[in-house]
Every structure is written in structure tokens, then in C-alpha cells.
Symmetry: C2
């Protein structure tokens, strides 16, 4: 099974003020689709944990022409673009049930040893190469986010219970929310997310006090989330486009 | 159709640190099931908005023997217990796909005019009485939450973009998260939510500065969320039980 498709419907309880799928919910669906596909190929959580390893999301890039709207049925199709003993590249196509392509996503997953948090060696998993698909992802690979010399805005955030996932770290979707929440509601009334890039460097844990710094110029937000020790947990870039 | 059942699977990306369905996600599923059932009966959003009205959740009570675990398939069955021209009582049974009953919920929905925010008169909807089901909900109706004379803990919270729903108010699931987040992670490692009651009085909007006050005694949390003007937005009571 070189591709897997999951289907969803956007309900009223799950949409934004603009009646669309929230970016953070799209990211959660991307992770769910990746998890289900990896499990179905026999390279999921259950297999990796046998050697004390687990997949960790390292980078994510999304480019959307538009987001699913409330009541709309949509699907995510995922496939593996490449695989080596250190990481795998997995892509996504987001469509309506009518076949309209809404956007694409690229992700990079690294296998780590869950005890040491160091990269695992996946040499034994060479059969995974057979699952690589030739399907084309038309969005470019993520380029490094260029950080400004100084950020114009900064706020603190204390990690709470509802932020914590099954690995006892700040959950990926919440990082995305913290970035989305850098801007006021009116911005999203007039603009929609066109491109979104995020890179993860360091995991955050319960009750940590984070600093979220950002700048916003020319419809482009650059944000960085750091821990109390000043170490960067993630960097993100979000490009908006005007609603028509 | 006097009952409606929705089925779900709890994925790894959607569970708590304790590998269970988060209380706030259960609440979102409850609202989704209610919305779908009301729509299917012809008394949903589309019908009420014709007269400028909408259903608003006023009270919610949940009692769980246990929560769905990661990878587990579960379902919510909803039915109407009673209906009059001011409000309707709608109940829920939460089961595993194997038929184990995990818990029940009771909700009270009030129809309001969305312009005036005043109660609507549903006299014209008497046909809804035909949809009342005789199915029994074994948990008692919500009793008034008794507020302590003084709260021991208090924190502030600024309403951000990701809190806002399609009505441009703080979304119900986020109120529940704010209550859950009153307690530290270790509490949930040792205890699970047994009963949860919440009542909504006043809607919160974007950028409002809220105060969340709580006390926690004998495994019971009492919390109140208020706006800047001191007016209460919601009160909640959460009873925990020790994990076995």
C-alpha cells in the first residue's frame, strides 16, 4: 500500500471563526494519516518501539489554495517520497470529496531512541524503500527560515495539562496554535494561511515557561518558541494571502 | 429517528498523557452528535436560523466509569429526553464498539435569538415532542454547583484566536480545557475524571482578559471563569477518582 487516504468532515464544533478547518487541526490530521500509514506498512509505533525507537516529526511545510469549509468532506492522501537510515520524507495531498485539490504538505520524520533522544539507525528497515511512491508533490522542500535580528513582539506561555501528548511533551498541534495565536482575530477575517513552515528542535514539557517571539511584515509571520534556558524549541514561518 | 449514534476511534495524536480521550474532546464529540441529530430531525442550525435563532449549550453533566483509550473504537448515542418552548434536554450514552458502557452525559440546550441573545420562543416547534425518546439516562440531572466563599487559586487568561468558534465566542471545548488545566499533570496520572458539571452564563469574546479561580479539596475541583467586569461566564465542578 504505497498510498493511504483518510476522509473527514469538518463539523461546526471544529471550525474557526471564519468557518474553516483550523491550521492546527489540519496538522493533527496530517499526523493521524502518517501514523495510520506507517502502522499499515509495519513500520509504525509498535514495530519501532521493539528496538526502543519512535518516529518524531522534525519539519512540516504546508501550502494551501484554500482550507476545507464547515460541512465540507475532505481527504488526506499520504505517501513516502524517500527513506534512508536517518529519516523519511512523507508527503500529503489535501482534496475535497469532489476531487478539488486544496493543498499539499511535506513532512520529515526522524527516528529517535526514546530513552536517549538520539537519532536511531534504521539500516535494518531497508524494506521500507519498497514503499516509496513516485507520486509528485508540487510544493518545494522547506528552506531554512531566516530569523530576524530582533523580534518585535514577545509573550510568555506556561505549558498546561491540555498541551501534553502521549509522549508527555507539548503536542505538535499546540505549537501550531501558539504560532497562529500571535496574530489578532481580524487578521484572519481578511487573510488566510497560504504557506506554513515549522521546524522542531527541542521538546517542551509540562509547566515549562515558554517565550513566544514574533515579527509580522508584508503578510509574513516569523515566530520562535524558546524554553526558559533560551534554547529554541521551534521556529515557524506563516505566509498569509488576502481573502477574495 | 429518535436516536442517533456516531462512531469514533481515538488516535495517538488525539489522546492525553494518560493515553485517554481528553475530557474536552469528549465534549466536542457530544456537541457534534447533538448538532448532527438536530440537523437530521429538521431542528438544527439551518432551520432555527430562518427565524434568527440558534441552539446554545446551557448545562452539561458527564459521568464516566472510564474514558476511551488510544486505539479504541467508541460511540456516542444521543436522544432527546424532553422538550418545551424554552429549552430541550438531550442525553448521551458513551460505549465501546464491544458494547461496554463507559458513561453518560446530560445536556440542556436553550434556543436564543442570535441578534438579541435573548431566549427564543419555540412554541412553533411542537412537532419536536414526537422525537422525545423513552431511553433512560441513569445519571441524575445537574444540581446547582455550590460555590465556596473564597477561591484558593486564581490565574488570568487572555482569549486568543484559536479559542474562538464559528459564533465568534470562546468555544465550549476550550472552557473545559481551562477547567482541566487548573490541576497539574501528576494529578491526572493518579486520578481520572469521574463526574464533570459545567454551566454557561455569559459568552466570552476575542482578546478578553478572563480570571479563572478554583479550589481543590477531597478530589473535587470547583472552578469559576469570569470576565474583566467580574461577571461570571461559567462555573464547573469536576470530581476525580483514583486510578486502580
Amino acid at each position: 500500500m504505497s498510498e493511504l487516504t483518510i476522509s473527514r468532515e469538518l463539523t461546526a464544533a471544529g471550525c474557526t471563526a471564519q468557518m474553516e478547518l483550523p491550521l492546527q487541526s489540519l496538522v493533527r490530521e496530517i499526523i493521524d494519516a502518517a501514523t495510520e500509514h506507517a502502522n499499515s506498512l509495519g513500520f509504525g509505533y509498535a514495530r519501532l518501539i521493539e528496538e526502543g525507537n519512535a518516529w518524531v516529526l522534525s519539519r512540516l511545510s504546508i501550502e494551501m489554495s484554500r482550507f476545507p469549509q464547515v460541512g465540507e468532506n475532505f481527504s488526506l492522501t499520504t505517501w513516502i517520497e524517500s527513506f534512508n537510515r536517518h529519516f523519511s520524507e512523507r508527503n500529503f495531498e489535501i482534496c475535497t470529496s469532489g476531487g478539488e485539490i486544496l493543498g499539499y504538505a511535506r513532512t520529515i520524520w526522524v527516528a529517535i531512541n526514546i530513552a536517549t533522544r538520539r537519532p536511531a539507525d534504521l539500516t535494518a528497515f531497508t524494506e521500507l524503500e519498497k514503499s516509496v511512491s513516485g507520486k509528485v508533490c508540487p510544493i518545494p522542500p522547506q528552506s531554512k527560515v531566516r530569523m530576524p535580528a530582533e523580534f518585535e513582539h514577545s509573550r510568555n506561555y506556561n505549558v498546561v495539562v491540555s498541551d501534553i501528548d502521549s509522549n508527555r511533551h507539548l503536542t505538535t498541534a499546540r505549537y501550531v496554535e501558539l504560532v497562529v495565536d500571535c496574530l489578532p482575530l481580524e487578521v484572519y477575517d481578511h487573510f488566510t494561511v497560504h504557506k506554513f513552515d515549522i521546524s522542531f528542535m527541542r521538546e517542551c514539557t509540562f509547566s515549562e515557561k515558554l517565550t513566544i517571539a514574533h515579527t509580522f511584515h508584508d503578510n509574513c509571520l516569523i515566530a520562535v518558541i524558546s524554553g526558559e534556558d533560551g534554547k529554541i524549541s521551534c521556529t515557524a514561518k506563516m505566509e498569509l494571502k488576502a481573502r477574495i
